[in-house]
């Protein structure tokens, strides 16, 4: 990826797009934190910009910048440098390893699910710097990694690997299994091989070594399948961003480029199958008015809004696209006490925008966005694939 802060002409378009600096004056915005400050940074000097951690890596600045500067990436590299030299708070260490957190929590899911709403547990978490304004997601014993890993005819013309990501694995395995079955119903051979966290949470918490460890392992597994003619499908937009941008980019893992070039967003892939006439689905009507909150990382992928394109084909479905707000939770960002105020303020703004549409339901590709926005809008949230699966239920190939 091109990485040149000198292309910045200081036009402030990035600042206008930054959700954090909009509500938190402590953060000077992507222009100052990124290209401006970069001129004064050197590998020989210790990173001292404490506020660098206030960036939530939504990448809105990168999508907005008309001059090809990537402020969020400049900031990310500095966050990593800062994280390597300074004491990282406990909350950051915990969330960097959310894969293990999920693994443990799912084994003892009933215990975790009954403990997490308790007041004294919440207070304890607060002491450790973890915020509790949102109810914690529920964990499940029967995770995706413990589900049936193959589906679809072995001799199918097209074969895909489903990279489901931690959220589906630990918190929504039911949806993960539905997506697996749905893909198989399109005439695909689906495999869900053993896989670990994409690495984005570790990277966002300043721990590049852990991120790289995860990435290396995933890339090895996925590349093995790609060599055997499989395409990779992801449904979590943040996992997708890690696979396509960070594996060959900042993490620079072996086979990163191969993974990047062969990974598809779920809806993008369905559209591709339709374009190739591999499937000719009949969309059943679904009479609802939905507010579609576009996750920041879907914008950052630069693939347009494929789910919205599929929604256009569903009779009766009225879609309102909302793409100007960041939900504020940003993965584990809002779960840290230090960011709670920012996350809540942004959640309220995005929640208002949704309520203004007055939808029957809220749609978003990102699990974190859904948790945050269902909370602040009071409207139940679904993944776009849930609507798609419903509409294509009787699809047979």
């Amino acid at each position: 990826m091109e990485f040149d802060f000198q292309h910045c002409i200081r036009c402030t378009i990035c600042v206008a797009n930054c959700p954090v600096s909009r509500v938190n004056p402590e953060f000077p915005g992507p222009k100052q934190a990124g290209p401006d400050a970069e001129r004064f940074r050197s590998d020989d000097e210790t990173s001292i910009d404490k506020w660098i951690r206030l960036c939530n890596q939504c990448k809105r600045c990168e999508v907005a910048c008309p001059y090809g500067v990537n402020p969020a990436e400049i900031i990310l590299r500095e966050q990593v440098r800062y994280g390597g030299k300074h004491f990282r708070p406990l909350a950051s260490r915990v969330f960097a390893n959310n894969y293990w957190l999920g693994a443990v929590s799912s084994v003892i899911a009933p215990v975790v699910n009954s403990l997490s709403p308790m007041k004294f547990i919440k207070r304890l978490l607060n002491v450790f710097g973890i915020s509790t304004y949102l109810p914690f997601p529920r964990f499940h014993v029967h995770t995706l990694s413990r589900s049936w890993r193959w589906k679809g005819r072995r001799r199918s013309q097209k074969k895909v690997v489903f990279f489901y990501g931690c959220f589906l694995n630990y918190n929504r395995p039911d949806l993960g299994r539905n997506i697996r079955d749905f893909l198989a119903s399109l005439g695909l051979r689906v495999i869900m091989p053993g896989q670990v966290c994409c690495g984005l949470p570790a990277l966002g918490n300043g721990d590049i070594e852990t991120a790289r460890k995860f990435a290396r392992k995933n890339a090895r597994i996925l590349a093995g399948y790609i060599d055997r003619g499989y395409d990779v499908i992801y449904s979590c937009t943040s996992c997708g961003l890690a696979l396509t941008q960070d594996y060959p980019g900042i993490l620079d893992v072996p086979d990163g480029k191969k993974v990047s070039e062969n990974s598809y967003n779920l809806h993008e892939y369905v559209l591709k199958l339709m374009e190739e006439h591999y499937i000719e689905p009949v969309f059943e009507s679904f009479h609802r008015k939905v507010a579609y909150h576009i996750p920041c990382h879907l914008r950052a992928l630069g693939i347009g809004y494929p789910a919205a394109k599929l929604f256009e084909k569903i009779p009766g479905l009225e879609t309102h696209i909302l793409e100007d707000n960041c939900c504020g939770l940003s993965g584990s960002y809002g779960f840290k006490r230090s960011n709670e105020e920012t996350a809540v303020k942004l959640g309220i703004i995005a929640g208002h925008a949704i309520k203004d549409v007055d939808p029957d339901m809220l749609v978003s590709d990102c699990g974190a966005c859904r948790m945050q926005l269902a909370h602040f809008s009071g409207i139940s949230a679904v993944d776009p694939s849930e609507i798609l699966i419903k509409s294509l239920k009787r699809e047979t190939q």
């Binding site: 036009c11 378009i13 909009r22 008309p66 060959p248 598809y264 374009e275």
Partner: protein
């Protein structure tokens, strides 16, 4: 195929967005590809049509024969501006002004600037120098100096409000809050401002500034108007936000934040563009293409020592001779020759001297538009954007 757009518009600025609106209103399926947010975000939000004379539309007659306004024609320019006003009203950011009459706004340097259509918040910015002007600013707000403005007028005063935050966007964000607005109004009432007009830097909210401005006017019984600021410029951001919203409502697909990496051609037809990405990236396929990438500042043209190239299709670029003839000796004198450079098109907005016939060009990338010299940037963008859309949207 399900993935082919009727028209793919390259460039998400004023011209491209207006073309997209015109085409979707004709029932076409459109995608807009943009490498980032457009420079209209940095603008005053005002629509300059032509600064020479009182009637910009009549002024078109006196422009050189090769100026792109002549390709559109006076009546069509007027119609496109009306269309723009209608879209902006729909989006809650109504513009005022008449395409037949220039008007003035107040700049942060305290001088008046000639323009044509203005956001509703600047309706009262054109005042007589004998009138009393009261300028409001905000504590620690950067790049806005009320004394600088008032020093230009015999009859002027200023006051400073503490918004608790000093950035343009931060203050605008607070004006969306009812309580903050009411606090601001009651502070204004307590100032005992003499009879006259009140000028406020353009921070009156992110989306509904016209309503905020009207409310302050009504509460104080004075004409209130906004002064555009240095970027981040709220009126420019509101303009972009409103047009983008209009596109989304019309079902236009947006591909944002990535540059075009490759172009697929087959004979005289462009078939698709592929966007640059870390790995495999989106391929956008269309029956026709509109190029609205703007001039040098927007990146549609790129200059090197003695040449300039068009950055997407490598179209032939008109240049006014060698580099030494590009600039006037006096930097501030209007009309540097380099401004003439751009793409030459025929009557149907197709680029000349190419074999491609499903490509149309509009906006400030057009040769001889000289938007700085004639002060016609947004006007050219809107007029040629709609005109190119009309040609390319015609049934074959």
């Amino acid at each position: 195929m399900s993935g082919t757009y009727d028209v793919v518009i390259i460039g998400g600025g004023m011209s491209g967005m207006m073309a997209a609106i015109a085409l979707t209103d004709m029932g076409r399926k459109i995608a807009v590809v943009s490498r980032g947010d457009p420079v209209c975000c940095l603008s005053t939000g005002c629509i300059d049509v032509l600064a020479n004379g009182n009637d910009p539309l009549e002024g078109i007659g006196s422009l050189p024969d090769n100026h792109p306004y002549h390709l559109v024609g006076k009546d069509a320019v007027k119609a496109s501006l009306e269309m723009f006003k209608a879209v902006m009203s729909e989006e809650g950011g109504a513009y005022v002004g008449d395409a037949h009459a220039n008007r003035r706004i107040l700049t942060p340097l305290g001088r008046h600037k000639v323009t044509c259509l203005v956001p509703g918040t600047m309706e009262f910015a054109d005042f007589h120098s004998d009138e009393y002007i009261h300028v409001i600013s905000f504590n620690k707000m950067k790049d806005f100096y009320p004394n600088y403005i008032t020093s230009n007028y015999k009859n002027a005063g200023c006051s400073i409000f503490d918004a608790g935050i000093s950035t343009t966007i931060g203050i605008a964000e607070r004006f969306e809050n009812r309580q903050f607005l009411e606090g601001f109004i009651s502070w204004l009432k307590g100032l005992d401002i003499p009879e006259g007009r009140i000028a406020i830097p353009a921070v009156l909210g992110m989306h509904f500034a016209v309503d905020v401005c009207n409310e302050i006017s009504v509460e104080l019984g004075r004409n209130v108007f906004e002064i555009p600021t240095l970027p981040p410029s709220m009126p420019g951001l509101r303009l972009f936000g409103a047009l983008k919203n209009a596109l989304l409502k019309r079902g236009v697909d947006l591909y944002w934040g990535k540059e075009i990496y490759s172009v697929e051609k087959s004979g005289s037809q462009i078939e698709a563009v592929t966007l640059a990405g870390a790995g495999r990236s989106a391929r956008v396929q269309g029956n026709a293409f509109i190029l609205a990438t703007g001039s040098f500042v927007s990146g549609g043209l790129h200059a090197s020592m003695d040449t300039a190239r068009e950055t997407v299709f490598d179209l032939p670029v008109y240049l006014p001779g060698k580099r030494k003839s590009w600039f006037n000796d006096d930097f501030f004198a209007p009309g540097h020759a380099i401004e003439k450079s751009g793409i030459c098109v025929d009557q149907s907005f197709r680029p000349v001297d190419t074999e491609i016939d499903n490509l149309f060009v509009c906006g400030s990338i057009l040769a001889f538009s000289e938007v700085m010299k004639y002060s016609c940037g947004h006007g050219i963008a809107i007029a040629t954007g709609v005109a190119a859309a009309n040609v390319c949207g015609e049934p074959v």
